[in-house]
Amino acid sequence: MKRLLALLVGLLIVGAVTNVVSAESNREMPIKPNEGDILPGPFEEWKVEYSYVDHINYGPWVEEVSHYCYTESCTVYKEITHCSVTSLWGTIKVPISEIEAELGFSIGVQDCESVGCSATCGYGQTVTLYWRYKQPVYGVVQRKYIVDQLGREHATDTTVVAYARQEWTPECESSAS
């Protein structure tokens, strides 16, 4: 009986701890200070405001496949793959994990990217698929905020940009004539 009791109490403790951790991980808003609370500060905080990607073209379009359509509707599909390594530089004020979440890829890893190129055309048309490499360069615009002693955030005019790069990536285009 005592063993059963100990087991149940143990389960109770494990359950309580899990619940606290679960609640912690699902919390979205930080705890706001109560009115009148005096916090250390003022201190600065940085937030991502914009993220963007610039497209840099390399080389001319290369014809991959050309297809004349004998039926009512045709589809041409070609998959082009390239392996790439990602990197990060510039002014980085927010955690790298936050930048990775904004951009949708991890920094400092090699991954292979495939792009499926497809085009449709109608009877009597010729559809041509072209491809070339592009280099996406990402910018993450971070703005500085001042958090005062009452926990209020004040946006400043100061912004900095962190840059991330994926190496060459295939892209495709098609034309029908």
Binding site: N19, D54, A101, E173
Partner: protein, 294 residues
């Protein structure tokens, strides 16, 4: 004593069950986020294009809980264009959303505004199939008489801008233009035909830099030196040289998604010509997508 111990056992079981219910409730908050498919697809768009041009227009998908064998077909009835994706060809993009490109063949022979375009979507999983019709937005097409060959080459351009901000946004569109001809070219304007109350140009400037990454992120108009502002004489590109242009724009909060393929007007010799710029999208994404494939 035995009765007391049984009471403790019963109370413990009750408390433990209550805790389990608490945990499962927390998880249901998480799963709620992925309980339905969310698409970002409703553009306000201006496209300058030639007849028979095709542009790829991405939509962004935060999926509900679908399996790894998912496939998705996108069909744009107004342009009779479709594309299909399977799991391996779908990649995560900004803010966790999956990016799906819709090819839009511009089979128009004159300029046209098309309102309330819609996109049909078929999502197939092992045991289920879903048909959705989602808004694709309001599009303004300006058709150039020229075929696809242009004298100038767009070497770099800003392709996508994302923000979580839902208020008035100030964004920059940049591009690099190379002049392969042996005649000096003057870029007179970068323009688009959209309601100024929705999207307006605050400034256009010419920069002599070596890469698009050297263009500044402008947060206020004073960030652009006055001598770089586009003058009435245009922005000069010498033969065999490249220049960079920056358009500083204001976007109204009502515009959640903007697609812009601007018209570049330039003078070469005694001719005035025009050509399309690179296509830029501006997307507001208030919440991260944390959903994925099982």
């Amino acid at each position: 004593m035995e009765k007391f111990e049984w009471t403790i056992v019963v109370v413990s079981i009750f408390l433990f069950s209550a805790l389990l219910v608490g945990i499962s409730n927390e998880k249901s908050v998480e799963s709620l986020r992925c309980s339905s498919d969310i698409f970002l697809s409703e553009y306000v768009a201006y496209v300058y294009a030639s007849q028979n041009d095709t542009i790829n227009v991405p939509i962004y998908w935060c999926p509900s809980k679908v399996g790894k064998n998912v496939s998705i077909v996108l069909y744009l009835p107004s342009f009779n264009a479709w594309v299909s994706y399977n799991k391996s060809s779908i990649r995560r993009s900004f803010r966790g959303y999956f990016k799906l490109q819709v090819p839009v063949p511009i089979m128009l022979n004159h300029s046209r505004n098309i309102k309330n375009l819609s996109l049909s979507i078929l999502i197939r999983d092992l045991n289920s199939e879903k048909n959705l019709i989602i808004p694709f937005g309001n599009w303004s097409f300006e058709i150039s008489n020229k075929k696809n060959s242009y004298e100038l080459v767009i070497t770099e351009y800003r392709e996508e801008v994302f923000t979580s901000k839902m208020d008035t946004a100030f964004i920059t569109y940049g591009l690099g233009i190379f002049n392969p001809t042996n005649t000096t070219v003057y870029i007179m304007n970068l323009s688009y035909s959209l309601s100024p109350s929705k999207v307006s140009t605050m400034a256009v400037a010419c920069y002599n830099v070596t890469s698009i990454s050297d263009l500044p992120w402008v947060t206020k108009i004073d960030d652009i030196p006055k001598d770089l502002m586009l003058s009435s004489g245009g922005c000069i590109i010498l033969p065999g040289k490249r220049t960079y242009m920056l358009v500083y724009m204001k976007v109204d909060p009502s515009v959640r998604m903007l697609l812009l393929r601007p018209k570049i007007t330039y003078k070469i010799g005694n001719r005035t010509e025009s050509m399309p710029g690179g296509t830029m999208r501006f997307i507001r994404v208030p919440k991260m997508c944390e959903c994925g494939f099982r």
